[in-house]
Symmetry: C2
Subunit: 223 residues, 2 copies
DNA sequence: ACAAAAGTGTTCTCGATACACCCATGC
DNA sequence: GCATGGGTGTATCGAGAACACTTTTGT
């Protein structure tokens, strides 16, 4: 096995990814069960060591893909966690990211480093490895704050969606119900949605109009 | 010299600190002139390698103290920069912080790693080492954004200050002039200031009341 | 007297909030 | 016909913006 030597101690650097989606009427987060020590068999955020020639964001995307098979998410750097004792093996500094994706394209598959991959409701998290609970709590706070001044929530929607579904997402993240008319007025006033021309199918009530993003993949800042 | 060996490559990790203050009627930032390669004799942000047993924030405070003699600033993590080639020597990941301090307590002194320490106006920066210009630009954006929803600006004030001085700070960071009456109404409605009882001395106009923070050292979020 | 910044209220505008009924579909 | 969510408009309230003159001090 090759070894890499330095004149002074170097920490290891990882990225960890808190991937959120909406499942049913809950905010959910993707966890993997660790198949090796430390914290063997504990649940943890997907993530892993930064390769020597990849940037941090690429590392986060690669680890997410390798461990869960998921690609194409919205990804944003969250915070860097660096307490000296946060990993029992050696000094490990973790650059945490949070990610958002619509639930419908996600069917996670356990990868090489993970024995199992599963969604957990944010309000029913299991015990977590390392300081990953802190990471998740911070990520959720950031998500909630960012609802108010950006269009991050759109990253949680399928390609087409109804205004009712979008409102539901806002309500779940903010933890409170919203007035339907005011919400629609607000969202439509942004001029970021276009009617797809289609309507909902197979619901046992009046079918809603389906909307899509006028400029898909673009994050907008409000105010 | 001792060597430290690992089974796979480890990046080096540094912290860099963008310390802002207000000098005259300009936003200013503290830079050091590097006394060794790479970028020898270039200006750069203060910062340096994380010790093996210190947390990231402690590292930032220590490096700032060692290189410039400055302590007691407001400090907040900004972003982690990790492009593989951002340092020509080896892979170095930098956790950037931004810091704020009132100009009056600051008399920077060159430390061991810095040949020279100086304030530069934000709008007249010299060429900078590494990606430090990106760091500074991001830090200034964060500072400006945070003015609107927190009381960060108070960290730039001396222990007592006038409302006129505070307004000046807001105007400098936002880059626009503000209405005096509206500003005073807004600031006083926060109920975070207390009159010190004193007034300004030795100005050739009507002396202003001096205020102090009701709870010094506390950051408040507005809205 | 004059220069220079301190101090002080009111009006208006616009965005945010509160609120209730009819509509289209599946069963 | 009834249950279910879709779709629509108006009135009110409050925060933010615009705006000008008097006061106190030093020179």
């Amino acid at each position: 096995m090759a070894t890499y030597c330095y004149d002074y101690p170097h920490p290891a650097v990882t990225t960890d990814i808190a991937l959120f989606t909406i499942i049913g009427d809950k905010l959910a987060i993707l966890l993997i069960r660790r198949r090796s020590p430390p914290f063997q068999d504990s649940w943890a955020l997907p993530g892993g060591f930064v390769d020597s020639d990849e940037c941090l964001e690429d590392c986060a995307l690669r680890e997410l893909a390798e461990e869960t098979g998921i690609t194409g998410v919205y990804l944003e750097q969250l915070y860097t966690f660096g307490k000296p004792d946060r990993d029992p093996r050696e000094r490990i500094i973790s650059v945490a990211y949070y990610a958002l994706a619509p639930a419908d394209i996600l069917s996670p598959i356990a990868g090489s480093d993970a024995a199992e991959v599963r969604w957990f409701a944010f309000d029913a998290l299991p015990d977590l490895a390392f300081d990953h609970r802190d990471v998740i709590v911070l990520a959720q706070q950031r998500l909630r704050a960012k609802l108010d001044y950006s269009t991050v929530a759109f990253s949680l929607m399928a390609e087409t969606f109804t205004l009712g579904e979008l409102q539901k997402v806002y309500e779940i993240i903010r933890g409170e119900s919203l007035d339907k008319r005011n919400f629609r007025k607000y969202i439509l006033s942004l001029n970021l949605l276009a009617e797809s021309g289609e309507t909902q199918q197979g619901c046992n009530h009046r079918p809603a109009k389906l909307y899509r993003l006028a400029q898909p993949g673009t994050l907008h800042y409000i105010r």
